[in-house]
Symmetry: C2
Subunit: 185 residues, 2 copies
Amino acid sequence: MEHRGAPLDVIARSLRRERERVGLSLSELAKRAGVAKSTLSQLESASGNPSVETLWALSVALDVPFSRLVEPPRPRVQVIRAGEGPAVYSEHAEYVATLLASCPPHARRDIYLITAEPGGKRESLPHSPGVVEHVVLCSGEALIGPTEDPVRLTPGDYISYPGDLPHIFEALVPGTSACLISEHV
Amino acid sequence: MEHRGAPLDVIARSLRRERERVGLSLSELAKRAGVAKSTLSQLESASGNPSVETLWALSVALDVPFSRLVEPPRPRVQVIRAGEGPAVYSEHAEYVATLLASCPPHARRDIYLITAEPGGKRESLPHSPGVVEHVVLCSGEALIGPTEDPVRLTPGDYISYPGDLPHIFEALVPGTSACLISEHV
DNA sequence: ACACAACGTTCGCGTTGACGAACGCTCCCG
DNA sequence: CGGGAGCGTTCGTCAACGCGAACGTTGTGT
């Protein structure tokens, strides 16, 4: 079959990497997963287009989440100081979102640091469907959540809500900041 | 083939759900994805074991992350007040981790609220491999990161590091709190 | 040195996924 | 009423995935 850009080579590398990390031989893993070792051999050499059943069995035998075999790995250690990092300014100047971590390609979650001042009610239009946002309030006080039913949060409080609904972030006191995780389910 | 517990029915439901949410007909989606509509029809009726290529093409055409088709959906809105939620106490009483969000099955990330007081150096043994931790310091000051190379963080700072390396969380001033995301890559 | 075991690869073969064509169905328009 | 477009399903064909068996290679022990 012609390749459509699917991560067959990524799968190959992931299988090899995970298998060696666990310390299993190709034969051993094949036996545990109930897969012919010839099949596994071909998959690790990126010659083949595995079925979901097969790949699923391997992910179970390796005890890694399924998506770990399909998506490429990501970097290791990273530090972003307060004030550094790419900032996303709102139409209101009182609101700044700093992107702390994203995971391309086919991002699964982004982490933002939000700082906001009172007065600027920040209404977010619905994002692409399948997004869930998690917010932990760090300091100050804010009204956060779905627009038709927001919640008043104080430091340490947590809320999560669907990102494909309209939602708001309204700081109630100066110096309000929060950690926001925007996640693709 | 005999089913190995693979999420074929989950895939079927996910395909149907995502397709209808986007508002595409079965024929239309098949055309856009470059997949025979007969194939797609069989997949949505859970009779079949798609190859990765096929499912990948569908995920691209639907513009959803691949794993969204393989894993079942999760709940919607949730609030946890500061002090509520399941707490994970350390051997040192000065350290409390509150679990805010986890995502079974085959968890991909957990979100914790950490509160710690000075004096209790919290050394974490390496977790299962493939884990990455993200920390955003909310208040106070702390020494966080890989044990052999920790970083001094102040409020708003961010760090991420591999969870399969030994790492520490040492509060330097009273009332230190942080948001910790423990993530399976 | 030889036998043996374990590893990873390669080689036919049966099964099955993916395809295009044809089908029944509903709806819409002339 | 009849034709046509669109929908989702079913049917036959071909390619390819997954399998077991056999192979060459490496390392071990008696």
